[in-house]
Symmetry: D3
Subunit: 316 residues, 6 copies
């Protein structure tokens, strides 16, 4: 993939006007308030996956709409006291998979709660009362109204996943970290913008960010679903973008206060670098960014994760 977006010096200065609905905050306050009327009812069932130095629980908690959301909770066996705890959100079309996929944090002395993204993966349903016809994928599910849009449900699940993590006795509630890459990075941004009690946010190559530019730059996967939706329905684009504004990572970043570590890749054609810098440059709290000049959407991969471990050790 050749370079295709703005040059790096321009990216570092790229801070576009945000399209923020006037009632953005009220929409999310009401959404979360309504969700909080359902008891969280977290459940942690021990799970035997053959491990002996890590404890594993099969998690369920109540997310948006009273729906039960699956996850895993892992922690090193016999910890000395409450542990800093990472709430990890997943990339697009992935699922929580298996406990053996999530061993990095326990091996580093953290607990981790991995939240299933509803409808994706294999475990967590997304009961969708609207059930509008969609472009295959999730970006256009419910995209007829801010109230029915898929990511309203997901972001609410994610905000409550933090509560679920805090409810586990091993978790130290003062040291909750949110983290994720791609879609997981987009969810992390949203949670960081909607909660004020987080110790840190790890945001890698975030998706769901600066939709208006992304939809014009990305033809195929991910953002391309929205162009496909507009192409087929031929509704006024503002009807669609006006909904997406309530879910745009740029608007969440502008509210987030937890210390953040971003990463971006300059040859990333899935989440173009200008869309990442748009959010990073609006981030309200302290933030730094790792730039991968010759990588695509894989970004910093495992090297990034090792940097995260070091940075968390310094930050928490």
């Amino acid at each position: 993939m050749p370079l295709f977006d703005k040059p790096l010096p321009d990216l570092r200065e790229y801070r576009p006007e945000r399209h923020e609905p006037a009632d953005f905050d009220r929409f999310w306050q009401e959404t979360l308030a309504k969700a909080s009327t359902d008891p969280l009812d977290p459940s942690f069932v021990p799970y035997d996956s053959g491990l002996s130095t890590v404890d594993v629980w099969d998690v369920r908690f109540t997310g948006f709409g009273g729906h039960r959301i699956a996850g895993w909770f892992l922690a090193p066996r016999d910890p000395a006291g409450p542990l800093p705890t990472v709430v990890h959100f997943l990339g697009y079309q992935g699922g929580r998979n298996w406990p053996i996929d999530w061993l990095v944090y326990p091996a580093a002395g953290y607990a981790v709660l991995v939240m299933d993204t509803r409808g994706q993966g294999t475990e967590t349903a997304d009961p969708d009362p609207g059930a509008n016809p969609q472009v295959p994928g999730f970006l256009t599910r419910g995209l007829v109204d801010r109230d029915t849009y898929y990511y309203r449900r997901v972001f609410t699940d994610a905000v409550r996943a933090v509560d679920a993590a805090r409810s586990h006795p091993i978790a130290d509630p003062a040291r909750i970290v949110v983290a994720g890459g791609s879609q997981g990075g987009g969810i992390t941004q949203a949670v960081a913008g909607l909660r004020t009690d987080l110790a840190a946010a790890l945001i890698d190559v975030p998706f769901l960010t600066h939709f208006r530019r992304a939809v014009e730059m990305v033809g195929e996967t991910g953002y391309g679903e929205i162009a496909g939706y507009l192409a087929r329905r031929r509704v006024p684009p503002e009807e669609v973008f006006g909904v997406l504004d309530y879910f745009d990572g740029v608007n969440f970043a502008a509210r987030a206060t937890a210390p953040a570590r971003y990463s971006v890749a300059l040859m990333d054609a899935v989440c173009p670098p200008s869309t990442v810098f748009a959010a990073y440059n609006h981030y309200l709290g302290p933030a730094e960014i790792d730039v991968w000049p010759f990588n695509g959407h894989e970004g910093g991969a495992q090297v990034q994760r090792m940097r995260h471990l070091r940075w968390l050790a310094d930050t928490l």
Copy 2:
């Protein structure tokens, strides 16, 4: 596409054992009986699409689960009396589109009701209480149980679409024809197997037929969603095929009595010819088949449709 399936003489004799659940008939009786407790409540709202020799109605009726199903109803303006009426079902991922897409039957003197396939297209929702995580597409939606499987809802909608068509004063209830290609051909087969009041069935390159063989032959589109589902979930295949047996076109064909006209294409890698002949050779009523030796999934296309017009003129 080269030839890849059995030679034509073998296809003509190919009549595999059917996998038929013992309670197949009871399952469908109960399904349709339950649906019939919701009033059909057909609605025909005149629609102005700029035509002057064809009347168009925007249709809604109640299908499975009390859900409203969209459609179009078209008829030549000022007919001399009740008209033979075609109920047309759609190919995969299509939708009812626009009235100007469905002018052939009115131009030939028939009324036509085009039924939206729920969740596909742009108009008809598929409220899905189970909402299991799925392979993108529809073949694995609800594929955890015969009761929640997507095509239980679709086939029920389709059976009731015939009632909706019969309820229109222009339709001659003694001359209702069901028709469709690919997914629409699979739906047509199902309706032909579930109703006894049909005057004819037009079944082109049907999908949803002989699943057990099809899933092993087709890698990518359509049937490939099921292999993808099995690949990811790793459940015992019989759990999945045991559900699909209730929806297999081969089992519906073995019950259908209306005169039928099939078509099949020998280079069709989407709905392989052996799967079509499997149903055709089990068809209970009188049936004939057009074989297109050098075509793919497009089959006979418009030439097939003109043959249909002639055949209907002879048959009805």
Copy 3:
């Protein structure tokens, strides 16, 4: 497909210098004058395709070089009087196909003549005395001289197709409309620039327009044939572009006076939007344009056609 051409505000102003040969008008006058020495000899043979509310004729008329050109003529049965009549030109590599493909205009109360594009489709030959070796396709057929170029023959056929339509007793000669998309849009532009007796022109995502820019922007299909020709022959490009100037839609648009309705799609990589706006912005008569911001070469598709029906109702 991401956006790849100029931004919309620039497109709306894009009105490039035209490369117009000094004897452009004379070339076409002489071409058409010569063709008119062959009698048009239109033939309308009733054709039974199983329709009952639409009359169909299998058409032949004499186009360029005395060659017989095929077409279909359709009209609603038993019209009250002479009908407004659309002469419809076809997209690249298509053919007149079957009468049941052309039912929209008769259903809306118009007659329609669909002209085969010589050499394309299956019916109409293109006797080509030069028969120069070509890049597969039609864009380089005869591209050694303006006199032998393929589109000289096609555009002449098209001008005469209007005469053929006018010769049918059902057609109202005061209300002849020319229409087409892609290659058909390019042909429509040419006819609109060469005739003064047209009631309207419907020009969708036109091909054969602003060749000099298009050949540098489009790598593969369509315009790419010309680059392929230049790549292999290595003649001075001006030898080729100097011929194409006689056939460029921009030059026809600058002469056309009939009221026109254009359409353009901003993600159209086959006929890039700047090439369409180049012609639209040079159009001499009254014109308006529909812009499809998230569509590719399909443009407005059926929605565009319904807009056409409404616009024609207002315009004629």
Copy 4:
């Protein structure tokens, strides 16, 4: 490319029934007799391409229908006497290109005449009175009748190319060799079947051979054009194959008497090995074959050509 055709031992025995029209010989006699009424009128114009040890002539001669066919004639400068001369036919979609492409034979002491394939390349026109609409390519040009089929013209050109070569004073008429690969191999087979005065034939991975099987085995390029033609026109296949029988390499091989050297590649998906062996096993004269077990359509390439030089040295 994996192995996909019959195993080698079966290929060595594969000698299918031939479909030979009763008047095959008369058709070709009459075709060639008619062509011979046009004077050959060979022209050899010295051509300066900057070479100093090879003489080059730009060739024209009259082929089928009085059309002038281009070629190159090369010979080592200052030969001691008349030279054995190769008439070389070209692969599909190629052209005679430039003299510097054809230096192997002169460097080995032979003269060579390279014949342009009409319509292909850049120099030789194919005036086509029928000019039927075609699938892009040449395999369906004129494929409505044996008299109008493209390869009737090409094979006639090729038979006369031998006469043209013999007419050059440098050529030794007793030592004329015909040669070519792929399409050129198919043409070579035809000439070998139609002339009795040839000293040898070099036939590599021949195309245009055993059409009935090839069309069912090859989806895309080459033979796939015929399936595409049948798919679109939907004529009875026998109408098409009945024409092709007059041009099938299997039928020419069964008549050819010159000593022949074939080659075949077992992973050749363009000209499948069974189609090559079908001709080889029917070859009437003495023949041997080189088998390339792990090659595709490139066959033996330059190694094959060096074998040819050695074999010709032994054979002539």
Copy 5:
């Protein structure tokens, strides 16, 4: 990917003749004996990757030719006594990557040594004195002689990796397990056939097995490099296969005695199931196999690994 190999019942019986060189055992005895003259000189340098419950060492040891081979050694911190230890070999074109990639075994209470595959990854060089020109990849590196073939070096490294693992004080030498998938499965098979002191072998979808059939079945990746080599060099195939026989997993399996757990996927087009069963059915020691009917080369993935943990708990 559709099914393309033999049916499962036939696969279960597929036990082809092996091509075993007469001096197979002597070749490997001499190879390993020669290697053992270089001191193993294992080095375990503690490595800080930010983990706190797992100890990590950066490993080097001397493999074939005195070359230093890199690896990681991981073990749970503060083990109660010597641990069963897995020696893990890697898939094609992978490398040892980072310690955080290899946490499953330590989390389950095992130590693990991950061996870099020389030349692949980023750390371990493959000094190659022959340095013959190759098809890109590793399958044809040194494929001119059994002594210079790449996998002679790799398999020797792998045999000595077991010694390196045994040399670590945490490792229990009576409980050494070898494991790997794809190329790693092929290496595991080789080590299992060359050592008699192993407690178990985990062999997933093994590569480098039944070359003679694989090369004819697989066109592109992996095995296709060998066909590419034969296609270009045109040496007698037996020269190549005669070398490969010394490295064929089928011949190692016939010597291996450690209890083995295989896995195979029926839609695996990279390592076709018949090649896996060929080895499995020749395996000398006790063996069982997991069959994944709808998976490709990913085989059982994480589910397979969890089965491994349970099976090892039972077996060791």
Copy 6:
């Protein structure tokens, strides 16, 4: 391929700053001086490839590191005196192939030495003491240090290939020409910059030139290997580009004094035109350039070669 680089007028002026290491000249002096301590030891063994007007020798000479480099030497038989001689370098992943591939120069009265590129082709090994893990291909072989980089060896071989050519009695040492396209063009540039005794240089679409820009413009083949290397290793890019600066065609062009003929293609996505003009515009000696506006990486192909013959006739 559409135009994608700068417009031609800008290209003609494009003369970027060069990144030239301070010790560039010393590095190459020392490299060549060291190589010259190995005797060249050229060997010319007559080779019978069946030609009769051209003499062929199988060549070996000592290149970098004492390694023997293969080649062919061809000359017209019985020349009148010493001949001007071309030393020809090869494109990427090619090899010297067979004598019959290199007949153009002998046919034009020149001798030619064709040098194998070590490791590429089938004959010449590249003993690589470093043997670092690489991206498949050659661009990252040894790319850890200027001393181990692959092209240090290749360029040294090439400089000495000129000496080998001069050592043949047929060669006129005052008329040695260096020539090549793509990789061969890059090698030619290097030799032209490192020797002062050349009569001319023919440089077509050169590779290995202006690396810093090329790596950002080319995603896949060729230059893309370097981006792939940076993506996986994540070393500071300057570590890599700092090595490449010693091998950049731009720096060699700035030293070269022989009369040069360049060519460039404006749609060349493998060696983008701006990278070619960067070198051309820095060329120190007299130079001219052929621009192919509608060609890709094939550039001027055979037409370019004929221009070369004419230009050489004028220049030498």
